[in-house]
């Protein structure tokens, strides 16, 4: 039932209009790093420092969120920049996803 509502909403002109409006208003995007069992803690801290220029404390805070909560929102902002950060994080083999910040 839910998926029917979703699929009909997805194709509705109202949603398309809203999406266009979101794009124009520059709806923020979240860069989210997910936990994995392979990457070392100090490696993740180092990557956050290199990619975002975080200080040690902030980088460690985000690393601990990833480790303990399974994910951390490391950056929120304009889509193009979010994509650039996601690419850089993936280049360092951190599992990264983008989400609209609704």
């Amino acid at each position: 039932m839910k998926s029917d509502i979703l699929s009909s909403s997805l194709s509705s002109p109202l949603l398309e209009e809203k999406t266009e409006l979101d794009e124009r208003l520059g709806t923020p995007w979240k860069v989210i790093v997910l936990n994995d069992p392979v990457n070392l803690m100090n490696y993740v801290v180092m990557v956050f420092r290199k990619v975002f220029g975080f200080n040690e404390t902030k980088a460690t805070k985000h690393m601990m969120e990833v480790h303990e909560l399974g994910k951390s929102v490391v950056w929120v902002g304009e889509r193009e920049q979010a994509e650039s950060y996601a690419y850089q994080l993936q280049r360092w083999r951190l599992q990264t996803v983008l989400e609209k910040d609704d």
Binding site: P37, V38, M46, K50, Y87, W92, T96, V97, L98
Partner: protein, 148 residues
């Protein structure tokens, strides 16, 4: 040049090196970035994204190959040009992911994070894979310390 010696017996490194070379070849074949792609709908953009990551992964693997082929590495000596450090750090991560997906595929995440306590009772393939995994982690850890 960044140089340091690992606190690992050379007989362990010698035993693990052939496995690492095998895994190294696998990591090039096995690379699949599609599963980590963010939710992007544009197919051209997706292709460019994946091609970019693949190209850069190749550069990272070359840095790892230089380390593994270095004649002094089997004695625990790590020598890396400063320009190669980032590439090598990423190459080490990539091969650890490959080990995780192959030799250590039966090991659950929690056990891998905490350390396999009963390694002697595991299959020889798991044992050698685990030593290779730890060795690569040791190199990465020391390298990060050196550049910090």
């Amino acid at each position: 040049m960044i140089e340091f010696s690992l606190q690992v017996e050379s007989r362990i490194i010698t035993a693990v090196l052939p496995e690492l070379e095998k895994l190294f070849a696998l990591s090039a074949k096995d690379e699949d970035f599609s599963e980590i792609l963010p939710n992007i709908d544009d197919p051209d953009f997706k292709e460019a994204w994946i091609d970019g990551l693949k190209h850069e992964a190749k550069v990272d693997r070359n840095a790892l190959a230089r380390l593994l082929k270095s004649p002094r590495f089997k004695f625990g000596r790590v020598e890396v040009k400063e320009n190669d450090v980032d590439d090598l750090l990423r190459g080490l991560t990539e091969i650890r992911f490959t080990i995780r997906k192959t030799s250590l595929k039966e090991v659950v995440d929690e056990e891998l994070e905490a350390g396999i306590s009963s390694i002697s009772s595991t299959h020889p393939e798991v044992q050698i894979g685990y030593f290779a995994y730890l060795l690569m982690a040791e190199v990465q850890e020391r390298l990060i310390q050196e550049i910090s």
